[in-house]
Each structure stands twice: as structure tokens, then as C-alpha cells.
Subunit: 398 residues, 2 copies
């Protein structure tokens, strides 16, 4: 017998699972080669060879008691130091000056976000995020009895956050704001201008309410960028920033669950916060991020997956979809193409897609009704082959 | 600024950390070779060579997209099937008949317990456990707004659970009972007789209250046994059992965070419960247990660390401590020797130990005041060398 509070989680799971199962069933029926499945954000580019070499080298040369053993709840010092150095090297010009103590290794960014929310939320505290958003955010906030407050999506600004609406939603109970940059599901990069204004609003509200509002910057897609637009370094704009990073996408290691939190010294109560994040890491049950892969990523911080592959996918899928007549946001980063449902009904659009053997995720599932999400971390050939299917889908509408 | 609810976690952390820091400082002062540190349950025996070979072989032969990729939230099917088969093979005579669907891979047993508690607890629901107990249990229960109800320790039964006291503490809000077998911190194995009686009480109370009470059997030390006493297979005694297992100790992989939950078909609402455990695994943030090590343990289910090393440690430490004049529980399993503070004051005993360069963990930290815990997963030579120090400590009391 599961608890009463589990119901909304189980319900949400059904929505996603239904889509996934549909694609699988369709593939079984008509052959996988005839199904254009854009439902899942599962990286399809292999990890850099250096990751494999790092793991084998560590196993062959390091003390197994260290490699597979407990360490500080915050992670191996050498990994934290390597990450701090790497961040300073890349973002020193934007104010990065981390030490090992500023980094807490986590079992992926999703767990990292849970750790942050557990650490800063009391019952009924509020977390603001910008629609459309990765729907798990709402689950994570609910885990700690917080309230998710969503800023409505703003197609009129090209899905940059609507900062006027945002400002009005901040209250004395606002403990944090989650941004996801580049964004899942829109593929949009929040600009320097956005970040400057957003930071100014937060500072103003902190002063007005006498509170601390953390900016939680969820950055699993930081390295996956397909334009010249630079992903702003969030701590440059706002002192009370907590960066949540994952190697799932940049090194194609989503199953390994490895990432980190970074908190600069200038953040409010940084020392206490960092200590608490480490304790929460232990107390929520993972104790520490997995050890061998912690050591491996420390050796691969300058490695990257083949971003050009994704870029080609982004460009070709955008071209195919828009040439078929649909309106879409040109992907700047991440894995996703955000497409407008021609008549504004994303559920109907998803179903019409299925009739053409195209599997898409409805935007309502991301608090972005009226749109659908197409994940383009798929085989490039499949994208090219999908062109007639998108034309067929367009013929149903136009 | 951390949340108000974090205070008790941070406080608890200080107690443990203080001990650890003390040992480190003392080692820096007088040399590590002069400190007898029995504070931490960190396995000191190396993992079997087969683990290294399995990892390297997987990296060299399997598809990296699978090895490091997402899978079902419950884990790789092949790993779950291998574990089910292994359990059936070992415990088939005691009723084990698992399939892959009965196993959910978790990021260690501590996370597995969090997943269970998150899945079954509503606010103010109660979890019973037997003192002395692994203190994190209380933190895990608190994470989900539950209440920990502790059955007082029972030295009179050799630290087998006091089942009369237990029965009186069960209420309609009791959602689960956590046992830890072999036990940390006492090293005691709960007997078949204990399990039979405990199960009968639970069944009676389920009927009386019309509720479901899960027996949560936390078994990281299952394979570490130093006597002929067999660790009872909990599901044999009680249908509504959830087994939480970790490979941290049996394969010396504590840093890797790999374990599982097992729920038999005969457990109440097994199908819904298993589905919910998988969803909770995702929603609490780890998404899935780390992938490469999932594949590796599937190949190493018949491997074991050198248990004889620990056995020798257990015997020698027990001999040294009791010959010095202290009263201790003879360890049957796990990593720990449970020693009575001669005057009943465990804090004073810990401090007296420090004066003799012996680092022990106070039993109060395990809800077992009047006792101390000595972890013997340490270098065997250190144990032998500690004999004069224990005699010196004894001289302070007798």
C-alpha cells in the first residue's frame, strides 16, 4: 500500500510512460525503421573515448580501496579541486574563483536539485520557475513540501522569461528561482540581458523583503550550444547563485549519474550552505556521488561529445519541420525543438503525429500547452527520413 | 540561508564528525601508527579482483551507449534478472521466487531506504526500529515527515529485539518496521525464533488494525557472518517484507553506491508498490542506479570479499577487549563490537578511550547509551597492537 501523497507522482508518470510505450508498440507493429521517435532526451552520441581510457587507467593504477571507497560526503577532494580549477580557467573572466570547498559532487543534476531544495525549503516555501519547464522540477519541490510557482511562457519574447510577470510572483516565501539554461524544452539560451534584469529584480526583492532568494541554475546542457550565443555564467550576474551541473549530456554519461553543485563564497551564508548541502547529500541517501566515475570525470573535464552531430541534427530537423509549414523555435542549445501546435491543441497534435508515425512529447507535460517538444538527440538518418512524415502531418492542418 | 528543518541534521552531523576529526588530529599529533581508530565502518578489505575485470571487460566489449546510458528507472533488466536468479538459487528453499520485476536497483541501501520511506509514509506515520540502531534511520524517516519509534535496547536478551515492548508500540499509524540483520552497531544476528515471533506480532497487528505494516529488512551485512548462525531470510517469515541490500560491504564498494530493493509477489500491493518504488527512485533525483556498476555487479553475484579477514579481526578484538576486563557482545556478523561502558557512561568511556589513543563511537549516537561501538573493519595489525591500550583503559576503571 503506497502513501496518499504518491498519487500525483504516479499520475504524472503515466503521461510520460504512455508516450514511450506508444512509440515502442508502434515500432513493434510497423518496424522501428518506420517510426520517427522524438520523445526522449537520451543522448545518442557516444561518450568520448577518453572516459573509457580514464576508467581503465584508474582501475589499473589506483588503490582500489580509494577508487571504490567512501570519501567525504561532498566528494573526492581531487575531483572537486579539478572542477574548481576548470571553472576558474573557463569563467575566471566572468568572476569564477572557486576552490575545492565550493564544489559538492552529486549523483547527477536531478539529485543535486533535490539536495538544494531539501536544504533551503521549509513547508509552504515557494520556488519560482519559468514555463515551459522540465516537469520534474515540480516533483522535486513537492518532495519537500514546497510550492512551485510558474511564470507563464512567453512566446512573444522568443521564450525568454517574462520578467514583469516574474517580479509580481516573488513573495517573502520565495526561497529560490530555478532556471535551466540552455532550456529544456525550448532549446532557448537565456541571454546576458535576461540575466542582468533577472538579477536586478532578485536583488531588489531580497532587499524589499529582507530575505535570501537563491538563483538555482540548472545547466546540464551548458556545453551543447549550436549558435554563437554564449551561455551566460549565472554567478557573474547574481551572488546568491547555486549552479547545478551534470556530465550526463556533455560526456554522454546519463546512466552514470554524476554531476555537482557549485556555490561561490559571495553567496549568502556560503559556508553554512555548503556544509548543509554535503550533509543533505548523505541524509537523502546517496551518501556520496559514485566514486569511480567521480575520479574519471576529473580526468575528462576538457573532453566533450561530438556537439557538431547534434548541431547538424538541430539544423536539419528545424529545416524539415519549418519547411513543412510548422512554426518552431530555432534551437540554440540543448536537445530540443519546440514546435507550435497549428491549432493550439498540443494533445491533438501529438495524436496526429502518431498517425504519421511521429512520436512527440506534448508541451502540456512541460507546462507549455499549445506546443510540442521534439528531442533531436537521435540518429541523423532518422531525421532526414522523417521529412515526408512531417509533410504528411502538415497536410492534416494546412 | 538554510531552512529551519535542517538544524537537527546539522547537529547530528557534528557529533559524528567530532569523533572523526579527533582521530585525525590525534594521528597528526602522535603519528597514525599510535592511534587505534575504531570509529568508522569503512570496509578495509579490497574488492574481489573479479569486479575490476568485469568493469574492464564491459568497457571493452559492450556498447558504450548502453553501458553509460539511461535505462528503466528500476535498473537494467539483465541486472535485475541476475539478482532474482541468484536470490532464488540461494534462498529458494526458504521461499524466494523472484523475477526481474521484483527487483529495483538503487544507489546503495541508504538511498533504497529513503525510496521506501518516501513511497509508504504520509505525514506523522510511524516507523518502528530496535535500539541500538543505525542513527541515519531517524534522519531518513524525518525526511518524509514520519515519526521514528524506537524499541528500547535489550541487553538481557543478548540484544535480540524486545518483542513484548515492540508489540505495545505498534499503532494504526505504524507503516513499517526497520530491522538491520546482522545488526549495526551490536554485531548480533536476529535469530529464526526472533523472526518467527516478530512476524506473528506483525500479522496479528495488521489484522487488528486492518492496516499494512511493511517489514523493511536492511541487509548490507548479510554476507559478513562469523559464526554458524544463519541470517534468516526475512521474506520467509513475513509476506509484507521489503529487502534493502547493498554491495558496499559484500564486494567492498561503499563509494560506488550500488544496491537494490526486493519485493516478492506475496507482499501487499506488490505490483503497485514496485511501480511506485521505481517512480520514487526517479523523483527523489537519482533517476536510476549508476549504470556501469549495475552491469558489473550482475557479473559478480557469487563473489565475496575475504570474510575470514574480518572474522579474524572480530575474534582478536573480542578477545583483547574482554581479556582486558570489559563486557562485550561476541560479534556474529557485520563490522562491529558492542562494548559496555564499565560505569554506564558511554561519553566518559569514549573520552577515557581517547586518553589511551583508542577512538570509539559512543552508543548514545546509536540510541544505545551505556555502550560503545568499535568498528573492526581495520588493519589486523592495528587490532593486535591495541592490546596494551585496552589494558591501560581497563586500569582506569577496574
Amino acid at each position: 500500500m503506497i502513501s496518499k501523497h504518491m498519487a500525483p507522482y504516479m499520475e504524472g508518470n503515466k503521461t510520460v510512460r504512455a508516450m514511450f510505450e506508444l512509440g515502442k508498440n508502434l515500432a513493434a507493429e510497423i518496424g522501428a525503421e518506420n517510426v520517427y521517435d522524438f520523445s526522449l532526451g537520451n543522448p545518442n552520441v557516444n561518450p568520448p573515448e577518453a572516459v573509457k581510457q580514464a576508467i581503465i587507467d584508474i582501475l589499473n593504477t589506483e588503490d582500489p580501496h580509494v577508487v571504490h571507497g567512501y570519501m567525504s560526503n561532498a566528494g573526492f577532494d581531487l575531483t572537486r579541486q579539478a572542477i574548481a580549477d576548470n571553472l576558474n580557467q573557463r569563467f575566471g573572466g566572468e568572476g569564477a574563483h572557486y576552490a575545492a570547498k565550493n564544489i559538492v559532487m552529486e549523483t547527477g543534476a536531478a539529485y543535486a536539485l533535490n539536495v538544494v531544495l531539501r536544504t533551503i525549503l521549509d513547508d509552504e516555501d515557494e520556488i519560482i520557475t519559468f514555463a515551459p519547464y522540465f516537469l520534474e522540477y515540480a516533483n522535486y519541490v513537492r518532495n519537500y513540501n514546497g510550492k512551485t510557482v510558474a511564470v507563464p511562457q512567453s512566446p512573444e519574447t522568443g521564450f525568454q522569461p517574462n520578467l514583469d510577470a516574474f517580479e509580481k510572483l516573488i513573495t517573502p516565501r520565495t526561497k529560490g528561482v530555478i532556471i535551466n539554461n540552455p532550456n529544456n524544452p525550448t532549446g532557448v539560451i537565456y541571454t546576458e540581458e535576461t540575466m542582468t534584469k533577472l538579477a536586478a529584480i532578485l536583488k531588489k526583492k531580497e532587499e524589499e523583503f529582507g530575505t535570501v532568494i537563491y538563483l538555482i541554475s540548472d545547466e546540464p546542457y551548458r556545453e551543447l550550444v549550436y549558435t554563437d550565443v554564449k551561455v551566460p555564467f549565472a554567478p557573474k550576474f547574481y551572488d546568491d547563485t547555486i549552479v547545478a551541473y551534470s556530465f550526463s549530456k556533455s560526456l554522454s554519461l546519463p546512466g552514470e549519474r554524476i554531476g555537482y553543485l557549485a556555490v561561490g563564497d559571495e553567496a549568502d551564508g556560503a559556508e553554512e550552505l555548503l556544509a548543509a548541502l554535503a550533509v543533505t547529500t548523505r541524509v537523502l541517501g546517496t551518501v556520496n556521488a559514485p566514486s569511480l566515475i567521480q575520479l574519471a570525470v576529473a580526468r575528462c573535464l576538457n573532453e566533450k561529445v561530438d556537439v557538431d552531430y547534434y548541431k547538424k541534427n538541430a539544423e536539419d530537423l528545424y529545416r524539415i519541420v519549418t519547411e513543412a509549414g510548422f512554426e518552431a523555435v530555432k534551437p540554440q542549445g540543448a536537445f530540443y525543438l519546440w514546435v507550435k501546435a497549428p491549432d493550439g491543441d498540443d494533445n491533438a497534435f501529438v495524436n496526429a503525429g502518431i498517425d504519421c508515425h511521429i512520436i512527440m512529447a506534448g508541451g502540456s507535460g512541460f507546462a507549455g500547452p499549445g506546443y510540442v517538444r521534439l528531442a533531436f538527440c537521435v540518429d541523423h538518418e532518422m531525421i532526414l527520413k522523417s521529412e515526408p512524415a512531417f509533410r504528411e502531418l502538415a497536410a492534416k492542418y494546412f
